[in-house]
């Protein structure tokens, strides 16, 4: 029985192999082969349709992911490039501003400081002919020391920070609180019009607020010296320690006006 079974299997197997070899040998000469292949392909295209759609979807998904990856990489490169360009531009602008400021800075010598108006004003050796006009800021050691109050041909008068006639709107840099700096005429500089309870502390820096093109914002004046004294009307007055040495004025620097830079 087993032998009969094995014989039948071998006969069927050998016949299948012979038919296979016959087809393999005869296939180049079979004219209908192409038609049969096309027919099989067209019949199978129906059940294969979901696979074709899935393949296209997967290919699209792959392309989308690849494109996204490429775009992300390009974006990163552009962001880096943009950051570098911004830094380069900032450096160039800063250098340009520095060069312009250097050109506008004019050193002047203090030629007169009268004893009766010691804390109010002094005279410098630069005047109208050197481009000085009323209102220009005057510095010492990088800190505001006063403003030009009158100009003649070869000299000018500067109103000191300690003068009660000079009032300068300022900002406390740490809190952005606005106030007015004014002198008391006897060597002190005061910060006024600060509402009570704003957390102002000694050591906070004070600089100019936006006033005009002649006196740009951000010019350092000094720092708050004490805890302040309430005026009784809801405001506190603080004493300011000026950055400039107001009692040691031999030379000062004038920032000449230039249209455009502080627009």
């Amino acid at each position: 029985m087993v032998d009969k079974r094995l014989t039948a299997e071998w006969i069927h197997g050998i016949v299948a192999l012979i038919v296979g070899f016959f087809l393999l040998g005869a296939s180049p000469n079979l004219g209908v082969l192409r038609s049969v292949v096309d027919f099989v392909g067209s019949v199978l295209s129906v059940p294969e349709y979901p696979a074709v759609v899935s393949r296209e979807f997967l290919q699209d998904l792959y392309r989308w992911a690849k494109d996204k990856n490429d775009l992300t990489r390009q974006l990163k490169v552009l962001q880096d490039e943009n950051s570098k360009l911004r830094i380069t531009r900032s450096v160039l602008v800063a250098e340009q501003i520095k060069a312009e400021l250097d050109a506008r800075m004019e050193e002047a010598r203090v030629t007169l400081r009268e004893p009766h108006s010691w804390w109010n004003e002094f005279r410098i050796d630069k005047g109208f002919n050197q481009g000085v006009i009323i209102g220009l800021p005057v510095f010492q050691n990088g800190f505001l020391v006063g403003r030009v109050s009158s100009v003649s041909t070869f000299s000018s008068w500067v109103e000191l920070l300690t003068s009660p006639a000079l009032m300068i709107p300022v900002v406390i840099e740490e809190t952005r609180e606005l106030g007015v700096v004014v002198g008391d005429g006897s060597g002190s500089v005061l910060l006024t019009y600060i509402p009570e309870g704003r957390g102002i502390e000694a050591g906070m820096k004070v600089s100019t607020a936006l006033i005009s093109e002649l006196l740009p914002p951000g010019i350092p004046i000094g720092s708050i010296a004490d805890e302040g004294a309430a005026s009784g009307s809801g405001y506190v007055t603080y004493k300011i320690t000026p950055g400039a040495a107001t009692s040691l004025l031999y030379t000062v620097t004038i920032l000449k006006h230039s249209k455009g830079i502080f627009r």
């Binding site: 299997e9 393999l24 296939s27 049969v36 290919q59």
Partner: protein, 154 residues
Amino acid sequence: MIYAVFWLAQDLLTVLTSGAMQIPEIFLSCLVYRLLTRDWEVNIFVIWTAFLGGLLWDLRWVGIPGFFALSYVSVVMLVLWVWNALPVSGRTPLVIFFLFWTAQLIPTILSALLLGRNISEARWMLFAAQQGCAVPVALLGAFFYFQHEKGQNA
């Protein structure tokens, strides 16, 4: 019917991969499983199913009728010969695995060698990838075989 489903599954997977890689011989593994688990009447049916399945594969993918038909029938005959020559005590898991793996190896290596396609390094990489996928299929076939045997003995 089950053979047609497995043939179609292999065909759909080939369409899905678009020829980027060779799909494991799922159809032939199904036939080998039938050979190992059914009686001799089914064996003859399996021989001709392998022939027809291979022929259809030739017409769909190769364009040379007879190539895969011969490969599939050769594998079936080889498995039958080994299976009948083995004593029952020799039908170990390793032998079963190798029989299933033969179904993966022979058609793929024959097509790589004889069809005259680019037998470049890349082609051999694809072959290696196919065999990498084929081993789990062979393991799965062996697993199902032993599951079936366990069910029979229970």
